[in-house]
């Protein structure tokens, strides 16, 4: 390494450390030297780079180049997993993913991917999932959600594979559907290796330029896991009444199952922050009684286990969770980042300011339809009412930058953060 490049590397390392320290300070409720600002984007990068959503999902190199350009222009304190969040098109195609529609697969080339809310597990399948989760995944769930796994519906029942039952039982593996599944899964896994390879390489490149990533891995709340990916929204709402006991049992069980992969994955990533988008907690979605019975206990258990493992939960409380603030306050002090989407951040600061760091929350309607001047005023409002009174705020948009945000408004957001809060 030349002296010049060595100096650059050393400068970038110092910048990285300073930026990361701001985040660590916020988490431990110490005042950082300035208010950190995050760059979180999904399809907004397509607008910024002048390419289609489809290109963003399929062209690893172009997406990395655009993401790097955005990072260098806005000079944020932390970035999201900019490539990982969007560039999954080739993998989704290889695996025959059925739960999303994405550009070229159900939606147009300039539209974001969208989740298909369906019953991927039927109401009468609780017992099967509870008794044998892995068997349920192999024979039933995976074939329902991904074409590559469809042959698995014909797999033998593994409990029968013992002694000479093992010898005779494996004949099923010669079935064409099962063979085809294995071949397709291997191809999909190879694409996944390429995808994750690009992600790792991009994150390393960002680190070398001095930019830490906001999170190492992404988790899910147990209730949301069952509601979103198994029972579907309305199925889950009916289960609150019709399958209450089984739902509670499954929430207990999946909390353990989720932690089994979440903790090792987070540790392997080298980044302690676990991002957890929260879908079903908002005030409007269930009563306080239902929230405290079905939603909160398993999520709190999950967060405490992550904290015990030395990790930092960062739930993104979607929509408006103002009525939940007193309940979700019940976590250890200085161990979490609470990111709010539409909850009044000033109110959140009043209730939670001495317990957790805060993140957010410039409104999507403001960012997409407002003027740079209005964005400036909204940042100033958060600085004056949250940051300056002592809130450990990481400035961000409500759920990252909306895809349609004019670039001028993003410039206004970053400029205002520096202007009003260092």
């Amino acid at each position: 390494m030349s002296t010049e490049s060595s100096a650059q590397a050393s400068e970038a390392k110092a910048a990285y450390d300073a930026r990361w320290q701001r985040i660590l300070d916020c988490i431990s409720l110490k005042q950082p030297d300035r208010m950190p600002v995050a760059l979180y984007s999904t399809f907004w990068l397509a607008k910024y780079g002048g390419i289609t959503h489809k290109q963003l999902m399929y062209d690893y190199e172009t997406t990395k180049a655009i993401a790097e350009r955005a990072v260098l222009e806005f000079d944020p304190d932390v970035i999201s997993t900019l490539l990982l969040t969007v560039a999954s098109g080739r993998c989704l195609e290889a695996i025959g993913f059925k739960q999303l529609q994405w550009p070229g697969h159900g939606v147009g080339e300039n539209q974001p991917f969208q989740y298909l809310d369906r019953e991927y597990m039927k109401a009468d399948e609780y017992d099967e999932f509870l008794f044998d989760p892995t068997g349920f995944y192999l024979h039933t769930y995976l074939p329902r959600v991904a074409e590559a796994f469809e042959g698995f519906a014909e797999l033998p029942h593994f409990a029968g594979l013992y002694y000479f039952g093992l010898v005779a039982g494996i004949r099923r593996f010669t079935r064409p559907a099962i063979r085809e599944s294995f071949e397709r899964i291997v191809k999909a896994a190879e694409e996944s290796n390429r995808f994750i390879g690009h992600h790792v390489q991009f994150q390393a490149r960002m680190a070398s330029l001095g930019y830490p990533c906001t999170n190492g891995t992404t988790g899910v709340a147990p209730y949301d896991f069952i509601a979103d990916y198994f029972r579907g929204a309305t199925g889950m709402m009916k289960d609150i009444f019709r399958n209450k006991d089984k739902l509670l049992q499954l929430l207990d069980k999946v909390t353990i199952l989720l932690l089994r992969h979440l903790i090792p994955n987070a540790k392997a990533s080298g980044n302690p922050i676990v991002f957890i988008p929260v879908h079903w907690a908002p005030d409007a979605f269930m009563s306080a009684k239902h929230f405290e019975t079905f939603w909160w206990p398993s999520f709190r258990k999950l967060m405490l286990a992550l904290i015990d493992a030395g990790l930092v939960p960062m739930p993104l409380w979607e929509s408006d969770c103002t009525k939940r603030l007193e309940v979700i306050k019940d976590v250890p002090v200085g161990k979490c980042i609470y990111w709010f989407e539409r909850t009044d951040m000033v109110k959140a600061f009043e209730v939670l300011g001495d317990v957790v760091a805060l993140r957010g929350n410039l409104s999507p309607s403001l960012l997409t339809t407002g003027t740079p001047k209005e964005v400036d005023a909204a940042v100033k409002h958060l600085v004056d009412h949250v940051w300056k009174p002592g809130g450990k705020l990481i400035l961000d948009a409500a759920f990252g930058l909306p895809d349609e945000t004019p670039v001028a408004n993003v410039r206004a957001m970053f400029a205002a953060a520096r202007k009003y809060a260092g």
Partner: protein, 220 residues
């Protein structure tokens, strides 16, 4: 309510209290064993839904209760409707017509479906034209259906532009003044209402019902 018998009141209470098993069993008994007038049973369901709507507005009930109430009514309706003897010329008076759909580019339908259901059980004729609805489909459906209210739904931020475009097309077609427009969905607020040119936005299904009732002169 004064004319309601004890058994009828029991059905109303069980439905309103989300006691699905007992409510369905009693409704089935009334319809199939007691041969009670199916229109009366449906009227009891509507009374129960008034209570559910009130509890929703008061912050006691939320989406799960609306969804379960919808399921209970659907189950009772499936038994009652074939038993209803149509009297020629007698059509139940409706409060007005609402055309509802999710704007183009957006595939979300949970909120839209709940709004449709709540409007329906509150006495509106509702035509739901689905998700990802192109502008030209809205125009054609409006010409055919002649709604009093057009409801545009959208969950994603891309819906802001789609709603604006859809409403602008009503102006171009010279039909903007012929009906009211309400919008709703996850990110919708007053800023979006002003941006799109809609007449109003609703934060939930009950607000949507009340908007329609106010516009059409019915007691909210």
């Amino acid at each position: 309510m004064n004319d309601t018998t004890e058994r009828e009141q029991q059905l109303v209470d069980w439905l309103a209290d989300m006691n699905e098993d007992d409510a369905l069993s009693l409704a089935r008994q009334m319809l199939l064993e007691d041969e009670k007038d199916p229109l009366r049973v449906m009227e009891l369901c509507r009374m129960a839904m008034d209570i559910v709507g009130k509890r929703f507005e008061e912050g006691e009930y939320f989406l799960p209760e609306l969804v379960l109430a919808g399921e209970m009514l659907e189950s009772i309706g499936a038994i009652a409707k074939p038993l209803i003897k149509q009297v020629p010329g007698e059509v139940a008076k409706k409060l007005g017509r609402v055309l509802i759909g999710t704007v183009h580019g957006d595939l979300h339908d949970i909120g839209k479906n709940i709004v449709s259901f709540m409007l329906d059980i509150n006495g509106f004729d509702v035509k739901d034209i689905g998700i990802d609805v192109p502008v030209k489909t809205f125009i054609q459906e409006i010409k055919d259906y002649q709604p009093d209210v057009v409801a545009l739904s959208g969950f994603l931020t891309l819906a802001f532009e789609s709603m604006k475009e859809t409403i602008a097309s009503f102006e171009h077609e010279d039909m903007r003044g012929k009906f009211k427009i309400m919008i709703g969905g996850g990110q919708i607020d007053e800023t979006v209402r002003a941006y799109t040119g809609a007449d109003a936005y609703g934060r939930n299904a009950v607000e949507a019902v009340n908007l329609c009732k106010n516009w059409l002169g019915a007691a909210a």
